[in-house]
Amino acid sequence: MEYEVIICFETHVELNTETKLFCDCSTRYGASPNSQICPVCTGQPGSLPVLNRKAVELGIRAGLALNCDINRQSRFARKNYFYPDLPKGYQISQYERPLCENGYLEITGDDGNPYRVGIKRIHLEEDAGKLVHSSSSFEASEYSLVDYNRSSVPLLEIVADHTRNPICSVREARDCLEKMKQILKYLEVSECSLEKGQFRCDVNVSIRTRGSRDLGNRSEIKNMASFKHILDALQYEIRRQSEILKSGGEIFQETRLYDEQNKITMPMRTKEDAPDYRYFPDPDLVEIEIDKEFIQEIEVSMPELPEQRLVRLTERFGIPIRDAERLIKDKSVSDFFESCAPHCDNTKTLNRWITRDLFRLLNDSGLTMEQCPIRPIEFSQLINLIEGRDITNNIGKTVLEEMFKTGRDPASIIEQNDLKPIDDTAFLEKILDEVETENPDAVTLIRRGETKPIDYLIGQVMRKTQGKAHAKRVWELIQKLLAP
């Protein structure tokens, strides 16, 4: 019997707002514990939430990019449960009337065609605080401390629709996650850093016999810290479920935890133990009324989406489509390109040096573009030096490596490492003289108007100067002295 996989994501992304969802506390990551808290986000008796308008704006922005209907009336609900990191004993979330509904995300399906993965809803909610245990595990800890800096940081929950064009393979799942992250970053909705917990995913997986209309019991997998973990967990879960079905067993609806050490999923709770969150409309917050003008305002001020940038890069800068695709994949890369472009004499050279040389350095060092130590303005200076033949490609590479290592500017690297090309005309003429004497045939050909031997002569000059001759100057000298 052949099986069919149905995968459904519930993604939480931390919104890119300055302040928290219901108070004025900063959302800055990495501050010392409990330094960004107030009566509201620590659930002091009597404190009340006030909605952050920017969070609503970012939520709608995501909804529009993911082709959703924006609900003109939306409301917050309380999700009640007890946990020490949840200061009010409930999380303010949305239940009935979320911010956005009925959207889709277009990915490339397994058949190579565009595939529109259904999105059921997008809603706003507040994050919980963070527990810090006194030793490595909760069980072994003598005590645990709570850091409420993260409490009430705005989250956007994006829930895929398992009934409308669900994801059917691990490959599609990867494409979907990457696309989602890419779009949210382009929209400046979230920084989507997985390390900082700004992009978190729960995955629902179920399996059914091909062609069946029944959805089958699904398991929900939690606790995955990276895309790789998500995909590994998926792989494992699909195998686990199909083996159960093949051996005639039954799959139960349950929540499972991913164990990254052993790359397996472990049962956490069954449907029977599922908590009753007793959702009800939060009486401390009024209904959010979203008028047409507000939506239009957001539409007009929408940052560029990856597809739009692709078109711009190919049309305006003449970047080949394949390179442009590589540039736009990560927003920070294309941002880097765009910061350099106005300062560069040749954007094609710029593209080449980013996609070939800079990518290689980033790859080798395991850094992301955000962590790149080179500033766009200095990268542009390097490109212009190469483009103007002030330095050769080879020296360019050496300089780039040095810039990457030290974060210094190209001019000072060239100066201090004695990489400055020799442009002393008398000296170069003397070398050229020697080369001409040694290569009379080439000289004859050049005099006849052939251009190929010019490069050969330049190469010879370079050899004699350990690559330090000013290539452009040498070329000019050859033109002057030998050209017909």
Partner: protein
């Protein structure tokens, strides 16, 4: 007459004429407290040192002249469910017995900015759940008019303090009648403004969609003066209304002539104590004779008010009180227990009183999967119907006159074992919390040494009219 027995309006005049100092008034209040507090138990915390300090500052402001608020130097008591920075705020509960808020409620801030002198934090039913101030972890409050009787609740401490001269003014809160009932039971005046009129920021929530802060005083005039100081939009409370702030004081003396007062038929039927009814009808007659038109009207869905109220209030309470878990502040039991869930259980079992636990359980049940539609949603639907009743009635009248409570103040312990009997005490008051309408509880005569109360209900954000009618009545009754 002792200074502490005078009205705030009178004291303000005396202060302005420099006939008396705020320190003298404050000292007079504390002398009364020394005499009577042991019997009455109106306060959970008194703040004598701070009060005298504030009084002296108020006196300095008088000496310096310049724009001075009417409240400057006037003693005030604040119900212990409003947060006061640096001053213990318990909500009448063991679970917050040691809680010292890091911030001031908006109302408290406004009072301090205007120079009011804080006498202390008043006793209340735990988390404002109750109608007698017997459900307090700090012992019951007694009715100053007859210490064997309850003062009503849940703002019983505030009302008793005002009535006994243990303060001049008091702040109360009203979720189902908690200002109007104790005011009536203690023979004074209390107004619950329209929902959204006064900021709830810093008011420890019982039921967010019903809670409202209001004024308790010995005269309608004093209520108007206090309300003027505490109302207004607050950015920190999303449910606070953006409406013009009227001067309640200025319109008090407008004539009664032509004003239409409605008597809802459903409020004067079986269940209402005859002696109370007689007193109310006397008041109605007095108003009628002096120019008001009396019209009988109907509020057909009144019978659903009590059940809707207890479904909505308990549902919201079950969630609002979830934060008292022993993790962050307040009482914690079971430090020795390594299991977090068990620590929660221990803390909440020992920290909350019986009535609070009863309501948390009720509310949790009401919101449970499978019951939500049958209870919570139904109650909200009934709430809409009740609202529409009032809207229709107000097409014909300016105010409604009703009882506050079916009976005279009852004895301490009389109803404590019968929660349903106790819930019915609120039968005439809860509708205003469901609809958000303003209402005032005041006294209309004494029966066997105990006050009978009546209620004036107004249109949304038309407290002026309620106060005007109340003030007119007070003058008429005083001269009668």
């Amino acid at each position: 007459m002792e200074l502490c027995d005078r009205s705030a309006v009178e004291l303000t005049r005396m202060l302005r004429r420099r006939e008396v100092s705020s320190r003298e008034i404050t000292e007079s209040v504390f002398r009364r407290i020394d005499e009577r507090e042991e019997t009455i138990n109106a306060y959970i915390t008194t703040t004598r040192d701070k009060a005298l300090e504030q009084a002296d500052l108020a006196d300095i402001r008088f000496r310096k002249g310049k724009k001075i608020s009417l409240l400057n130097g006037i003693p005030i008591a604040i119900k212990d469910n409003l947060c006061t920075r640096g001053i213990r705020t318990t909500c009448g509960s063991n679970i917050l017995y040691n809680y010292i808020p890091p911030y001031d409620a908006t109302v408290v801030k406004k009072l301090f900015q205007r120079g009011a002198v804080l006498i202390g934090k008043t006793n209340m039913d735990e988390f404002a759940m109750g109608s007698s101030t017997e459900n307090s972890a700090f012992g019951p409050t007694c009715n100053p008019l007859n210490p064997e009787c309850v003062p009503g609740g849940s703002s019983g401490g505030s009302a008793a303090a005002v009535s006994a001269g243990e303060t001049v003014l008091a702040i109360g809160t009203d979720t189902g009648g908690s200002i109007r009932l104790p005011a009536a039971y203690c023979g004074i005046v209390g107004i619950k403004p329209t929902y959204g009129r006064v900021s709830r920021y810093g008011l420890i929530s019982y039921a967010s969609s019903l809670d409202q802060v209001g004024a308790i005083a010995r005269t309608v005039e004093d209520c108007a003066m206090l309300l003027n100081c505490i109302c207004g939009h607050d950015r920190l409370d999303s449910t606070s209304a953006v409406v013009k702030k009227p001067d309640f004081f200025r319109t008090l003396n407008e004539a009664l002539r032509g004003i239409k007062l409605g008597l809802p038929r459903e409020y004067f039927v079986e269940g209402l104590d005859k002696s109370v009814k007689d007193q109310i009808m006397k008041a109605v007659t007095l108003l009628d004779k002096n120019g008001a038109d009396i019209i009988e009207i109907s509020l057909p869905h009144s019978k659903y008010a009590i059940s809707s109220y207890y479904l909505i209030a308990t549902a919201e309470a079950s969630s609002n009180l979830a934060r008292y878990d022993g993790v962050k502040y307040g009482f914690r039991s079971g430090d020795h227990i390594s299991h977090t869930g068990k620590m929660y259980e221990e803390t909440r079992r020992k920290g909350f009183g019986k009535e609070v636990k009863r309501r948390i359980m009720l509310g949790t049940y009401v919101l449970s999967a499978g019951y939500y539609d049958a209870y919570y949603r139904k109650a909200q639907e009934a709430r809409t119907l009740i609202k529409q009743d009032f809207e229709r009635a107000f097409e014909h009248v300016d105010c409604l006159i009703t009882p506050v409570s079916p009976s005279l103040p009852f004895k301490l312990g009389e109803k404590i074992a019968e929660p349903l009997q106790m819930y019915l005490v609120d039968i005439y008051t809860v509708s205003l919390n469901l609809t958000g309408l303003p209402g005032m509880g005041l006294t209309c005569g004494m029966v066997d040494g105990l006050p009978a109360g009546f209620q004036i209900i107004g249109k949304a954000f038309e407290e002026e009219t309620v106060l005007r009618v109340g003030h007119a009545y007070e003058k008429l009754a005083g001269s009668a």
